[in-house]
């Protein structure tokens, strides 16, 4: 045999071929299908989460609330509904979309979640000159009917309106007059006892909602359809239950927003998410005690999944037949699975180029995956417990002289006991993260124990601790890379990256240079202490 086999360069050719298999479809997607490669900084992208809580009584319960809908000025990109106990149906009614959660609510705390990704676009409103239409469709006509309790005092209100707007022509001008009167002449007070609109006009004091009411009714009296609108402010970190309400009026087939208090006329700020139109509360429920709260967070970048939702109409078979075509649940699974080869590459780099020693070949990748489902700190705790148990078992084995399989079984049993205790404690103190320590990480930790005990026997305690630490370092690096959303999104949008990973693996597979750790091992050669 001679060295020619070692100079063999076939692996480089194969690596290049695999790299091309990656490059060609990726280039097609980027240049022809216009897939975004980098995160696009984005304005006005928000995640809104609504959390509803109530006390279940073991009886049937129903909760109704409105949902934001895609409209001029706002796009709902993605919606998630989470309830462990209740089912839900979505209903459309007039201008609104609502949801009914219902089912038998078992005793205890019940939580419902609604999550939406929302993009807002600045809205502009222009009121064309000239009078509004004379005839309205029945749907619009309902917004001309005055409040029932106003009927009796109708005349007084008409007299007031005559004094205010009698001298001018044109609905639009009349509306402006009403707006200016309410905005400038009526003082806003936090609480006002009087509920009577006429009374309010006389004392020129009203609360915000009373002013809105006055405006809507006065508008309707000059035959302009008007109604309330409700929404929330999209502010990063906004956690509250306060709903903003303002009015809108119908002109030339368009609803024009008016807020007397904030002095918006034909304008609303773009960071306002409209929830529903019309009167009535945001949420109604058959249960007595319920509470809700929404949380808003600003998204700074486009992710590929969001990209997919906005460009579903991309229309290429290439796209339709990609991972994006899978159901959302399967997509989540694949986002994880695609990370495994990447983790394997990281392990290769650490083992063959850096020179760290790890339990088994791919244990670090599996440990990193376990960390993902347990969250990092619980994962680290679990790993430490496993290593300590392994070392303790070595100590116990020396004393009790147990054989391999029963000894491992004892450790696994101890681990299960610790997990059970941890979960019970977690439940009692409301730390749900511990309960996430489920079956999957269990299996991985058991495998870690087996590896650890083999190392303990073959190489001793000191070596086992060193290898544990090095395994942990590699696992943390895998975790760090694998949990980056960008990396996940990128692999998901461009799964052909896997072929590029193969080509890297091929190159590492034929790397015959020194490992980084060998520079330390052979440090004395490098220092050149009397080499003969």
């Amino acid at each position: 045999m001679n060295l020619s086999s070692n100079r063999n360069r076939t692996h480089i050719v194969v690596a290049i071929i695999f790299f091309l298999i990656f490059l060609i479809p990726a280039a097609y997607k980027i240049f022809f299908l216009k897939y975004p490669v980098l995160f696009k900084p984005v304005e006005n992208l928000w995640t809104v989460e609504l959390k509803i809580q109530f006390q279940g009584l073991g009886e049937k319960a129903a909760i109704y609330h409105f949902l934001p809908k895609t409209d001029r000025g706002q796009t709902i990109l993605k919606e998630d509904f989470v309830s462990q106990k209740l089912s839900f149906t979505i209903e459309k009614k007039d201008a609104n979309v609502g949801i009914v959660w219902k089912g038998k609510a078992p005793k205890g705390d019940i939580q419902l979640f609604y999550r939406a990704t929302v993009q807002t676009i600045p809205r502009t409103f222009e009121i064309p000159p000239g009078d509004a239409e004379k005839k309205y469709s029945p749907y619009i006509f309902q917004y001309l009917i005055l409040d029932e309790n106003l009927e009796s005092v109708n005349m007084e209100l008409y007299d007031f309106l005559k004094d205010l707007t009698g001298d001018i022509e044109g609905k639009q001008q009349k509306l402006t007059r009403i707006y200016n009167f309410l905005a400038n002449e009526v003082t806003t007070v936090p609480i006002e006892k009087s509920k009577d609109l006429i009374e309010l006009l006389k004392i020129r004091k009203a609360t915000r909602s009373q002013k809105r009411h006055l405006f809507i009714n006065l508008a309707r009296m000059v035959e302009i359809p008007a109604r309330s609108v409700h929404g929330i402010f999209l502010e990063d970190g906004n956690r509250s239950k306060s709903i903003q309400s303002w009015a809108e009026v119908y002109f030339h087939g368009k609803w024009i927003p008016v807020d007397i208090e904030n002095r918006w006329f034909a304008y609303i700020p773009e960071d306002l998410l409209i929830l529903y139109h019309g009167e009535g509360p945001f949420m109604t429920a058959s249960v007595k005690e319920f509470d809700y709260r929404y949380a808003v967070s600003k998204e700074k970048e486009w992710t590929f999944s969001q990209f997919y939702h906005t460009t579903a109409q991309i229309g290429s078979a290439f796209h339709e037949w990609s991972l994006f075509g899978l159901s959302l649940e399967t997509q989540q699974v694949f986002r994880l699975i695609l990370m495994i080869p990447l983790g394997a590459l990281i392990v290769s780099i650490f083992r063959n180029i850096v020179g760290l020693v790890t339990f088994g070949t791919f244990m670090p990748v599996l440990i990193a995956l376990a960390f993902r489902s347990t969250k990092l700190w619980w994962g680290l705790l679990l790993f430490t417990v496993v290593v300590v148990l392994g070392l303790a078992s070595r100590w116990a084995m020396d004393r009790l002289k147990l054989l391999v399989v029963p000894r491992l079984s004892v450790i696994v049993t101890f681990l299960v006991i610790i997990l059970a205790l941890g979960t019970i404690i977690g439940q009692q103190f409301g730390i749900y993260r511990i309960t996430a320590v489920a079956l999957f990480p269990m299996v991985i930790m058991t495998m870690t124990i087996e590896r650890l005990s083999i190392i303990l026997m073959e190489k001793g305690k000191k070596e086992a601790i060193t290898i544990s630490i090095e395994t942990l370092i590699v696992a943390l690096c895998c975790y760090a890379v694998m949990s980056v959303t960008y990396v996940q999104d990128f692999l998901f949008a461009f799964p052909e990256v896997l072929f590029a990973l193969i080509s890297f693996q091929l190159l590492i597979g034929r790397y015959t240079g020194y490992r980084l750790t060998e520079y330390f091992r052979f440090i004395n050669f490098i220092k050149g202490i009397d080499i003969s």
């Binding site: 045999m1 391999v404 399989v405 790397y511 015959t512 240079g513 052979f522 050669f525």
Partner: protein, 293 residues
């Protein structure tokens, strides 16, 4: 620069050892020949090489008493797992009176203790991956007087890297207190490089650091002539035709009465031997290759 220095000295790294020597020269199918010490022993005997005499093999629990027959007959003996690695699980015993046995470090064991120990070996406590194993009961090698001053308990052995049947580098492995009488470097034993032609020890290495004296006995480990050197080289070079492994570490012990014998072979020899010799393996391997062509 650093990286260049290692390369210039021809230091062999793990990656290069694996990719250029182990993978092409050591076929996996021959690994069991060296991973199972019983097979190695039989193979060596078949090839007319000297090995520590095998008294008996214990495969099943019911054969346990054979070890005590051996004890009655020979007094001193060694129990080792057939598939152990890195010197793990080796028990050196001497029969005392009243069914007691003394270990090399003076610890006294009962018959029961020994039975328990052997059942551990059989269950795979010391074998790779915990597979079931056999316990070998064999002759206890009698160390040479010249090694007494430079080893702590245990028996020193000579590790020789044999490339395509040619010994390329050798070291004397000396047990220390830290290594617990074992001659394995990663347990803390000392490696002393050997001049291949003369069989005289050169420099020492302990935990990858250069040393000149034994840490426990305080004696100089350099300049010691190893007896039977030419024979040791001959024995080791036979390993190639015997196992067909092109890159192998041969461990040879020297017995006071019986001379050099093959203790075991290693298909993945460690690279610290380069530090013990303060010399890189690559150059030596390449010079063999150039002769080959």
């Amino acid at each position: 620069m650093w990286p260049n220095r290692l390369k210039k000295l021809g230091v062999l790294g793990i990656n290069k050892r694996n990719a250029m020597y182990l993978l092409p020269l050591n076929e996996r199918k021959y690994y069991p020949l060296v991973d199972d010490k019983l097979r190695t022993k039989k193979l060596a005997v078949k090839n007319g090489l000297n090995v520590p005499h095998l008294y008996t093999v214990i495969r099943y629990h019911h054969q346990m008493n054979e070890v005590f027959n051996v004890a009655d007959q020979y007094g001193q003996f060694v129990i080792k797992p057939s598939m152990g690695s890195g010197g793990e699980g080796i028990l050196v015993l001497e029969k005392q009176t009243q069914g007691k046995f003394a270990r090399a470090d003076g610890q006294i064991l009962s018959q029961e203790d020994i039975s328990y120990y052997i059942s551990g070996i059989l269950a795979g406590l010391y074998s790779l991956g915990g597979q079931e194993d056999k316990a070998l009961v064999e002759y206890k090698v009698q160390s040479l007087d010249i090694f007494d001053a430079i080893s702590y308990q245990g028996v020193p052995d000579v590790r020789i890297i044999v490339y395509k049947g040619v010994p390329v580098m050798a070291m004397l492995r000396l047990p220390t207190k830290e290594s617990n009488g074992k001659a394995n470097l990663h347990h803390g034993a000392i490696g002393a490089g050997i001049d291949l032609h003369e069989g005289i020890t050169l420099h020492g290495v302990h935990h990858d650091r250069f040393i000149t004296h034994h840490p426990d006995t305080g004696n100089c480990i350099e300049g010691i002539q190893i007896p039977y050197w030419k024979d040791i080289l001959k024995i080791s070079s036979r390993s190639y035709e015997m196992t067909r492994l092109g890159f192998v570490g041969v461990d040879v012990v020297i017995d006071r009465m019986k001379g050099p014998m093959i203790l075991e072979l290693n298909a993945r020899p460690g690279l610290s031997i380069q530090l013990a010799n303060r010399s890189g393996l690559s150059k030596r391997l390449e010079s063999i290759d150039s002769v080959d062509e």
